[in-house]
Structures are given as structure tokens and as C-alpha cells.
């Protein structure tokens, strides 16, 4: 047996490995930087303030790269379990956590807001004794409260998805169906209709809301403007091409039906507004 000075070999190996890795890291910077910049540009920035709640819940790991989506998904399932138990406060905070961790999927925002604005008032009214027992005014107050929270969720979602017609439409739906604020609904349906990708329903809803609050002239003007933009297959009023013997495609049949329906609507409004026949719209 012999006493030797410390064996330096593992230390040397370790240092060499670290040095080689650092050199590799630097050498690869030209490859890494552009790729990282491209990825970074797409990552929604994490808001550290709102994340503090999340960190307490042991989901720190969930914030790392690809794990984020997974952690959010699992929390979402937890939220749905809570939803089935009609546990309003727990569901609400769980949903909040989900959208904080992964604000990318629209799905989370929309469904969160719907649960809050549509399901929770029902739970609360039932918990207070049911629709027969709870006074009407109290019921309205509850619905309004929940709708406000749902709308706030969607408002926050807009900061991540500013051009989503779906978000505007969902907000408008809440005003229409829950708070019965048709004026606000009209404004939001119009916004939805103006976003790219919207299918046309929001535009018609805008006119319907205006009608509901008696603003017929505005509804009429809006419909005329919309009608002008509608595709009109051969044979429909206003189409540049005359009807042919060729059968229409599925798409064309749908378009023709829509155009015809809207024209009928316009005629009804002309009737309501008492417009003389000579001022009636000519497609």
C-alpha cells in the first residue's frame, strides 16, 4: 500500500470534456442562432408575473419547451373533472392556470370562457335553490357576473390571438345569449365579420342584433353592403352570368341559397322601413 498524491486524471478528463463542449457550442453558433431566432419569434413570451401562481403548483417543468403543451393538457383534463363536479371556483382557477401555461391553443380560451359564462351561472342558481326559488333579479345578477368574467377571459385571449374572428364571435354570443346586451353584441359581431376567415354567420348576426334594438336602417345598409360582396352563381339575381343548363356544384348551390335568403331578408326590411317601390334595392 502506498500513499499517492490525488489522482488528477479524472479531473483532467472532465476539464477536457467541458472545454471541448464549450468549443463545440461556439463553433455551432452560426447554425444555432438563426434557428433559435426563428423558433423564438413564434414562442409567446412567458409572463413572469402571472406565472408565479403556476410555479406554486409544481408545473415548473411543464414550462420547458415541448412539455408546456403536455402540462397544460393534463391540467385541462383536471379542469374538466372539476367541471363535472360543478366546483366553480376550483374549475375557474384551474382554467386560468391552463391558459397561463400555454396560451397558444384557442381551444383553451374559448372553452374556458364558455364554461364560465354559460355553465357556472346555472350551477350557482341551482346551488341557491333552483330557478323557481331564486328571485329573477338575483338570477340576472349571477348571469351578468359570470358573463363579465367570461368576457374578461376572451379579452385576454385577444392579446395572444388578435385577429381571431372566433374570439369576437364568442364574445358577441355571450352578450346576445347571456347578458342580452344586443348593442354590444352587434359591435362584436361586426368585428368578427371583419376578421379574416369568418364564414358569414357573424355578419348576419350583426344585422339581426341591430334589428333587435330597432336600428332597422343600419341593419338594411349593412345587409346591402354584405349582399354586394356575396358570390352569386349563374342564375341568381344580380349574377353577371345567366342561368345555364349545367348543374351547379355543391358550393354554388350553397352560395345561391345564401344569396337568395339575404335578398328576401332585404325585401322584408324594405317593407318594415316602408320604402317606396322605386327606392327598393336592385341587384
Amino acid at each position: 500500500m502506498r500513499f499517492n498524491p490525488l489522482n488528477l486524471r479524472p479531473l483532467r478528463t472532465g476539464l477536457l470534456v467541458v472545454a471541448a463542449l464549450a468549443a463545440t457550442g461556439w463553433a455551432l453558433d452560426p447554425l444555432e442562432q438563426p434557428a433559435w431566432a426563428a423558433v423564438r419569434a413564434r414562442e409567446p413570451a412567458l409572463k413572469l408575473g402571472t406565472l408565479q401562481a403556476a410555479l406554486g403548483q409544481g408545473v415548473t417543468v411543464g414550462l420547458l419547451g415541448g412539455f408546456r403543451a403536455l402540462a397544460a393538457d393534463f391540467l385541462w383534463v383536471k379542469g374538466e373533472v372539476l367541471w363535472e363536479d360543478h366546483d366553480a371556483p376550483a374549475t375557474q382557477s384551474c382554467l386560468k392556470l391552463v391558459t397561463t401555461i400555454d396560451p397558444r391553443p384557442l381551444y383553451f380560451w374559448i372553452n374556458s370562457s364558455k364554461m364560465v359564462a354559460y355553465d357556472m351561472p346555472d350551477w350557482r342558481i341551482r346551488a341557491e335553490g333552483g330557478y323557481e326559488v331564486v328571485p329573477k333579479r338575483r338570477q340576472q345578477a349571477i348571469v351578468l357576473e359570470q358573463a363579465t368574467v367570461g368576457l374578461e377571459i376572451l379579452q385576454e385571449a385577444l392579446t395572444y390571438h388578435p385577429n381571431s374572428w372566433f374570439l369576437y364571435e364568442t364574445m358577441a354570443n355571450i352578450h346576445w345569449q347571456q347578458t342580452k346586451d344586443f348593442a354590444a353584441a352587434a359591435v362584436l359581431y361586426k368585428l368578427a365579420a371583419e376578421q379574416p376567415g369568418e364564414g358569414g354567420w357573424a355578419g348576419r348576426q350583426h344585422a339581426r342584433m341591430l334589428q333587435n334594438i330597432g336600428r332597422y336602417q343600419e341593419a338594411y345598409d349593412w345587409l346591402l353592403q354584405r349582399y354586394a360582396k356575396l358570390p352569386k352563381p349563374p342564375g341568381t339575381p344580380g349574377s353577371k352570368e345567366p342561368a345555364t343548363n349545367q348543374p351547379l356544384t355543391v358550393q354554388q348551390t350553397t352560395d345561391a341559397g345564401e344569396a337568395t335568403e339575404m335578398l328576401e331578408w332585404i325585401r322584408k326590411l324594405e317593407h318594415t322601413l316602408n320604402l317606396p317601390a322605386e327606392r327598393a334595392y336592385q341587384p
Binding site: 500500500m1 502506498r2 500513499f3 499517492n4 498524491p5 490525488l6 489522482n7
Partner: protein, 306 residues
């Protein structure tokens, strides 16, 4: 066993026959770090040894005397702290030094998920046995070690003795010139041990060099040409078996049991020539021989019945 013509003192110095040595160890020392603060355990201490080509060489010593460590250095699995080691002239640190070496580790354990045949085939391919000869060669060594019936079974199901045999097969599959067997008979029954001894002698007849460690000294004595004894990493004795254990000034005579009167006559006859009868003993069959004989008879009966 060939008679030893040379007197004990005349072991030729290793340097006198460099070309024939299969393994050359020069001042080999191996320290293992144990515990903290750089305390070392010297497992092999300044070992200088030659294993001549074409011989069976026994490396003996008590547990922990450094036999396995020496073998690992020879195979390049451990790096010597001091000294050098060459195999057929190639330093054992180089991959090329292992080209002509077959190795059976002590208490071998192989890939459990392979069958015996797959295992041997894998090692054969690793050692570069040409594809054309692969199947034939694998079958040959498996038969050689007597595992043909179990070759299709997973190695994980093998018994201790079967593992030793399959280990021997993988050590031999590429037809190496040097075969190193670390306790090939550990856990093997006497029949198996005897078979392994026979195999070693066959290898020797083919001109191979065999390095073997074992605690079965009777077996070592039967098969080895030379032995070296280690103790705590140091070489304490080396030489041919005949030199080391043969006694040339005594003889044993084996005769039918003599009546007391005839024995007295024999004593007188010897005394007349100035000699004495030193011992009269009842010879006993060695237990291993008895075992072998009885097993052979039982097997013979079973075969006769069936």
C-alpha cells in the same frame, strides 16, 4: 506428462526465448484506488513472467492474489500502473493484441436474451469469422463443448456449468492461438471438469497456448506443463510441474495385498540390500475417480435400458 529432463535450476531466463513467448509480462504492477485520499491497493506487484507458446500454463494462488487482475491486464481491460505486457509481441493496450486471444471470464454471464447459438454467432462475427464459414464453425464449437441439444435455448435459462461451456465455445469460436481460461471449472461438476481437462489437452495437441487459473490443484497438475504461484500479487514460485512436484528419489509399488509373513520376507529382502520399506498403505480410489466411474456406469445402464 512428459518426463522433465532438465534439473530444477535450469529454467531458461525469459529473455533467452523471446520469439516463442505467447505472453510476456515485465515488471507488471497494478494498483487500485481504494477509499479516499489516494489510498491504493496493490493487486499485482512487479510481476515478470513468460508464457511460452504451445504450452498449458497454470496461474495459481489463493483468493485475491491477483490472478484475475493479471489476466485483465493481459487482455487490455485494465491498464498497468507500471511495467509492460505483450501478447505475441503486441503491447496489450492495442486492439490488435486481442486478435488471437480467446477469453473465458471467471463466473461468466452472457447476454441472457440470446440463445446459445446466437451468442456464439455474435462473438464469431465480432471476431471476424468469415460469413462463409460462420454457420459451420458455430455448430462445430457448440458440439465441441457438448451443448448441441441446448443451443436453441436462451442463455438466461442455462445452468452454471452450461454457462461455462458456452463461454468456452465463444472463446474458441475464432480459432485463437492463445486461450485464457479464468477458473473454467468453477461450479462445474466433476464430469464436466474432466471434460474440460480433456478439452484443454486437445487444444494443446493442436498447438494452442492455454493460460488457466483454477483452485482445483489436481486438475492443474494433470493438464499443465508449467505453473506460477502468486501470493498478494507477487510471484513466489514458477516452473514446470514435473520440476516442482515430481520426487525422483522415491517410488511407489502397487501389488496385491500380501500376507504378514510375505511382507516380513520382503522387508528382510530389502534390508539385505541396505534399504527400508518406508510405508505400507491401503490405496484408496480418489473420490473424483469414484464419482466419474459411477456416473459412467449409471449412464451406461440407462442407455442399455432405453
Amino acid at each position: 506428462m512428459p518426463p522433465a529432463p532438465a534439473p530444477p535450476a535450469a529454467v531458461p531466463p525469459a529473455s533467452a526465448r523471446p520469439a516463442t513467448a505467447a505472453i510476456e509480462l515485465r515488471g507488471l504492477t497494478k494498483d487500485f484506488p481504494v477509499g479516499l485520499r489516494g489510498v491504493k491497493l496493490r493487486a499485482v506487484d512487479n510481476l515478470t513472467l513468460d508464457v511460452p507458446a504451445g504450452q498449458v500454463f497454470g496461474l495459481l494462488g489463493p483468493n485475491g492474489s491477483g490472478k484475475s487482475t493479471t489476466i485483465k491486464v493481459i487482455l487490455g481491460l485494465l491498464e498497468p500502473t507500471l511495467g509492460t505486457c505483450r501478447v505475441f509481441g503486441v503491447p496489450s493496450g492495442q486492439v490488435a493484441s486481442r486478435r488471437n486471444v480467446g477469453y473465458l471470464p471467471e463466473s461468466p454471464y452472457f447476454y441472457r436474451y440470446l440463445s446459445g447459438e446466437e451468442l456464439v454467432r455474435f462473438y464469431a462475427r465480432v471476431c471476424g469469422v468469415p460469413r462463409a464459414r460462420l454457420a459451420a464453425r458455430v455448430g462445430e464449437v457448440i458440439e465441441w463443448v457438448g451443448l448441441t441439444g441446448a443451443a436453441g435455448r436462451r442463455v438466461g435459462t442455462y445452468s452454471k456449468g452450461m454457462l461455462q461451456r458456452i463461454g468456452l465455445a465463444q472463446a474458441l469460436v475464432h480459432d485463437p492461438r492463445l486461450i485464457i481460461l479464468d477458473e473454467p471449472t468453477a461450479g462445474v461438476d466433476p464430469v464436466g471438469s474432466a471434460e474440460i481437462s480433456a478439452m484443454i489437452l486437445r487444444l494443446k495437441a493442436e498447438g494452442k497456448t492455454v493460460l488457466i487459473t483454477s483452485h482445483l490443484l489436481a486438475q492443474i497438475e494433470d493438464v499443465c506443463d508449467r505453473i506460477a504461484i502468486l501470493d498478494r500479487g507477487r510471484l513466489i514460485l514458477a516452473g514446470t510441474v514435473a520440476e516442482l512436484v515430481g520426487r525422483r528419489d522415491r517410488q511407489a509399488l502397487l501389488v496385491e495385498t500380501l500376507p504378514e509373513a510375505e511382507l516380513a520376507e520382503l522387508r528382510a529382502w530389502l534390508a539385505a540390500r541396505g534399504r527400508t520399506l518406508e510405508a505400507v498403505e491401503q490405496p484408496r480410489t480418489r473420490l473424483d475417480q469414484l464419482f466419474l466411474r459411477e456416473i459412467a456406469r449409471s449412464e451406461g445402464q440407462r442407455e442399455g435400458r432405453s
